[in-house]
């Protein structure tokens, strides 16, 4: 029997190939609720986007998958393991199979580009320096920045920093790569480059990619499936084709960039006339 929350195109035969699964996850920061009963499935080898407005919980989902946060209710399964139940050593072992691209790169500022990428290799493997060097240069070449190996992060442009961070994320050939707003603040050329790299690396390395973003245009070009999150719940999902043809009001507002719609323009306030003419 197929899982009702799985995307339609995931057949029964493909069921065992689920990389990440969230089931009925509820999470709140102190007393502020962020996610309310979210369920999603991310199949192996696919690029899946999680979209939504700012502050809707997209980054929280990534942190739950990565084990930085624990849900109050619900299951978070990665490669068959329940992430919140892992102890420290098991969690660290699992994280070695992840790569994560943080917003704006989060490169280690006291190290050069080369050393940033060599970091994971040196920490987690006993490979000799010559092999580390080859691997680092290979990763840098994949993102087109082999010539920038000796630069410091402060000397890089935004787009270059993002690409270096991408190279760092795939340094250990992970099984799952998570991208937190990879398109934020980039120029059009860099946007195209990053988008293409995400797709190509995913297919070439056989990894699973989760992209958290609100850039609809770039996402629709490269992803296999999208989830739309608003106010802590999934309000729409589908393949890129589904989304483009969708009649759902929220999806339409998002894709077309309409200022007003299911996500209101006006922040809740008292009636306009009453406030204007009120006595101070």
């Amino acid at each position: 029997m197929s899982d009702p929350s799985a995307p339609a195109y995931v057949t029964a035969a493909a069921q065992p190939d689920i990389a990440v699964e969230l089931a009925d996850v509820t999470f709140a920061y102190d007393r502020r609720p962020v996610l309310a009963g979210i369920s999603m499935v991310i199949p192996r080898g696919k690029v899946v986007a999680i979209m939504g407005g700012s502050g809707c919980g997209k980054t929280t989902i990534l942190r739950l998958i990565g084990g930085q946060l624990k849900p109050q209710v619900g299951r978070v399964m990665v490669a068959g393991q329940s992430v919140p139940d892992l102890d420290r050593d098991e969690l660290y072992a699992l994280r070695r199979k992840f790569g994560m691209l943080f917003q704006f790169g989060a490169l280690f500022t006291d190290m050069s580009v080369y050393e940033n990428i060599a970091f994971a290799l040196r920490e987690h493997t006993d490979l000799p320096e010559e092999i580390v060097r080859d691997l680092v240069l290979m990763k840098l070449h994949a993102v087109g920045l082999r010539g920038a190996a000796r630069l410091m992060p402060s000397e890089l442009s935004g787009g270059m920093a993002r690409r270096v961070a991408l190279a760092r994320a795939i340094a250990l050939d992970p099984m799952l790569v998570m991208y937190d707003e990879p398109f934020a603040g980039l120029d059009p050329i860099s946007l195209g480059v990053v988008g293409q790299l995400i797709r190509q690396l995913n297919d070439a390395l056989g990894i699973t990619s989760i992209v958290v973003t609100h850039d609809v245009y770039e996402s629709l070009k490269i992803v296999d499936y999208l989830y739309f999150v608003s106010e802590g719940a999934i309000i729409a999902q589908g393949t890129a084709a589904d989304v483009r043809a969708s009649g759902d009001a929220f999806v339409r507002q998002f894709v077309d960039g309409e200022p007003d719609g299911p996500v209101p323009f006006h922040y809740p306030a008292s009636p306009y006339r009453a406030e204007l003419f009120a006595r101070a």
Partner: protein, 269 residues
């Protein structure tokens, strides 16, 4: 009106109470943090280069301010000390006055305060900034414990640097006092050094001074790494964490100084 005053008072008390509880909670959190950092000590020394790097940033880069301040403090001590001592014909005790003041108190305390403001604030700002730019998160997600790789080396760098800096401060202070007392004022150099050597005891004065500076170093380093790690990941968060480090470290040094002095210097007999 009495009603309003009563509610205001109740409100104030409630805030005081919750503030006190929050402070105790924070103290508990800080203690757990301290234990976690100390537990990572083997990792910090396995990567010796990391810790040495922090000794450079905390210690070597503080040398200038410590040496210059030590020199000036010693010189001023000599001037002021001479002014008072010569009224009782005891100007040959200047060496004793200066050396004991420096070795027992001024060396550890003033060097500690300077260290807190120069190196402590830098450590807090650095860690806080790494937190704000998600570098610590990135490290965590790469399965490297930031406590072991970022925090513990900075903690031990501070602990190692402090006693050395305090000793250098005292040394420069004695030298400054020598310059003023013997060279400038004209006290007999033999009396200066001889009386000093007779009065300053290695175990009692110098070792106690070193113990003090080690304790201060631990306190300042711990506060600095904690406030940095705990800072809110914004510009204001980092800035207020840095201020808190300097204030809390200074108060801690002065309070610990009192406690240690009571236990250490109860009079020889």
């Amino acid at each position: 009106m009495l009603d309003a005053a009563a509610t205001g008072l109740a409100d104030g008390l409630r805030r005081l109470g919750s503030g006190a509880i929050a402070a105790v909670g924070r103290l508990g959190y800080a203690t757990r943090f301290f234990v976690a950092v100390v537990r990572e000590t083997p990792a910090a020394f396995a990567r010796l280069h990391l810790t040495l790097r922090e000794v450079y940033f905390s210690g070597v880069l503080s040398l200038v301010i410590i040496l210059v301040s030590g020199l000036f403090v010693g010189m001023v001590l000599a001037l002021q000390g001479y002014d008072v001592l010569q009224r009782y014909g005891a100007d040959e005790s200047l060496g004793i006055l200066v050396s004991l003041s420096l070795v027992r108190e001024l060396g550890p305390v003033v060097a500690g305060l300077l260290f807190a403001s120069r190196a402590g604030s830098a450590i807090t700002a650095e860690i806080g900034l790494m937190k704000a730019t998600e570098q610590l998160s990135a490290m965590e997600m790469m399965a490297v414990d930031p406590l072991a790789r970022v925090v513990a080396p900075r903690f031990w760098g501070g602990v190692i640097s402090m006693p050395l800096l305090a000793a250098l401060f005292s040394t420069l202070g004695v030298f400054g006092a020598y310059l003023v007392g013997v060279r400038l004022i004209g006290i007999d150099t033999g009396a200066f050094w001889g009386n000093m050597q007779a009065a300053v005891d290695f175990r009692y004065d110098i070792v106690n001074g070193i113990i003090k500076s080690a304790v201060f170093g631990t306190a300042v380093s711990l506060i600095a790494v904690f406030e940095g790690f705990d800072a809110k990941p914004t510009a204001e968060g980092v800035s207020s964490a840095t201020t808190r480090t300097v204030v809390e470290s200074s108060l801690a040094i002065l309070a610990l100084d009192f406690v240690l002095t009571v236990f250490m210097f109860r009079g020889i007999s």
